[in-house]
């Protein structure tokens, strides 16, 4: 992994739902070892963008490429293999599984055991199981959830569920991590903890794309910010540049009455 190398590119990506244009020809690039934030008022198309970049939605037009290879139209489950992992706006854990099993799910593509091998419980299966559970434990230790490994995921408090979801995503050893509102519903302390962890991930050479409403978090940790409004990209730059951009201020606060 080379920090700063372009990993993912969106070229004029558009998504229409019937008559509504949720995302309107947006282009940007994601670099490794960089935290990029995607911000904008409610309904700006941030989540839709994220869903297209992770294969959940098919863009109406435009192209998405990963390491210059066109991946537009690939099925969602193939994106992990491309090195893209993500979390969701509403936590999507496997509630009926234990905490550690959730992280083991993140290692799904790293394993090979198929239905026949598992049916016969071959020694290779048991070896692989030991390997993935050990590896999952390490990921849990990183987010401080190791002591809750055998609890059911639904029984975790909300903040820990968020962290578990990130741990699951990180288990697939991605090159790019997409976080959809990771700080939503977190306490101040939990948000600080999250910020540190995300920066740690960035420093390990992974590209992070964050969508969030917590402006302080975004401005603190981001290297680059993309601002969407009504599906259009209205600004891109460093947090400082974006904060002083007049069209961004207008999008968030509305026009000043005196201007009319």
């Amino acid at each position: 992994m080379t920090t700063g190398a372009v990993f993912l590119e969106a070229h004029d990506v558009t998504k229409r739902f019937g008559g509504l244009t949720a995302v309107d020809s947006v282009s940007f690039t994601m670099k490794l070892g960089t935290i990029k934030a995607l911000i904008g008022p409610n309904g700006a198309g941030k989540s839709t963008m994220l869903n297209m970049l992770s294969g959940v939605y098919l863009p109406t037009s435009g192209r998405i490429s990963v390491r210059t290879v066109d991946v537009t139209g690939q099925q969602a489950h193939k994106f992990v293999g491309l090195g893209i992992a993500r979390t969701f706006q509403t936590v999507q854990l496997f509630g009926n599984m234990t905490v550690i099993e959730n992280v083991v799910m993140g290692l799904h593509t790293k394993c090979k055991t198929g239905i026949i091998q598992s049916a016969l419980r071959l020694p290779s299966v048991l070896r692989e199981e030991r390997m993935v559970f050990a590896s999952a434990m390490e990921h849990l230790e990183r987010v401080g959830l190791a002591d809750r490994a055998s609890e059911l995921a639904v029984n975790l408090p909300y903040g820990q569920q968020r962290m578990l979801e990130i741990a699951r995503a990180m288990a697939s050893s991605p090159e790019m991590l997409m976080l959809d509102e990771p700080a939503a519903g977190l306490s101040m302390k939990e948000t600080e903890h999250l910020a540190l962890f995300v920066q740690e991930i960035r420093d390990s050479g992974i590209g992070v794309l964050v969508v969030d409403h917590d402006m302080r978090l975004i401005m603190d940790i981001s290297d680059e910010v993309v601002v969407l409004d009504h599906g259009k990209k209205i600004a891109e730059g460093t947090p400082r540049e974006v904060q002083t951009n007049p069209s961004v201020i207008t999008a968030y606060l509305g026009e000043e009455a005196g201007d009319e």
Partner: protein, 328 residues
Amino acid sequence: MDARSQSPRYHFLAFPIVGALLAALPFALHNNYYIGVMVFIGIHTILALGLNLLMGYAGQVSLGHAAFYGIGAYTTAILTTMLKWPPWVGLACAPMVAGLAAYLIGMPTLKLKGHYLAMATLGFGMIVKILFVEYYPLTGGTSGMTGIPPLSLGKLQLVDDRQFYYVVWFFALMLIWVSYNIVESRVGRALRAVHTSEIAAASVGVDIAKYKIQVFVLSGVYSGLAGALYAHYIRFVNPDPFGFMFSIQLVVMVVVGGMASIWGAIAGASAITLLSQVLQRFEDYEVIVFGAILVLVMIYMPQGLTKSIVDLTARRRSAKPSKPEVLP
């Protein structure tokens, strides 16, 4: 709420216990009628196991599973009577043919979201039953096929109910073991994941359609084997047992035994098989009783018979919390 109240260790402990009980049972039952009922419970356990993997783990309903059962029975019947193939070969081919049929039905329907499989299997089950009746040269029509040879071990022909009892339960326990292995593996976790959140399962790279089709084929294979065992036990097949009514009975077995519960398959199969013995004299009203059971279980014991009883006993002992352990 603890969705997985038992650790794998308890499951593996259960094998020798259940195995020993089943091995001893024929010595306690002097009436051959009861042995015959136990043979059917074994066959139905295999069917319920397969359907339970599909319903409880892949979250898909099949309303035509009796068709795969019938395909298994007719496959071995045709191979062993018309082509004179050895019974064990017929028994081995039956699950493959049933699995192939499941693949052909599942392939187009399981790629779609929602309960298309239920509708497709409903139609499929009816078509297969009509084929059994109408394709006279191969199936003997409504009068069926006779002269199916018994299974044999060396020179010993397994014609006695007690002998066949051990054959059936050998397969049933083996498949319980296999099902349990699958459920507690990467594949089983992927299936449970799909059941909870398809979008999250896809985000970690689970190929949802692939797993659904695999489980469906597997449940077809189980049913095919059950059908072949039936054919070599009764040594006569006709279309009657493979209709829509029996498909529904299988669904009831799974629900009563408990969805996503491997051992529950035995409980569900036993309860419904015994009940249908009792209800036989009511003939057509049997349907109403099964419908009522389905509704009552769904309302009062949505977890099924086994889970409800286990939970009840667990609640009594829940005074001391169990020490958490990391698996495996």
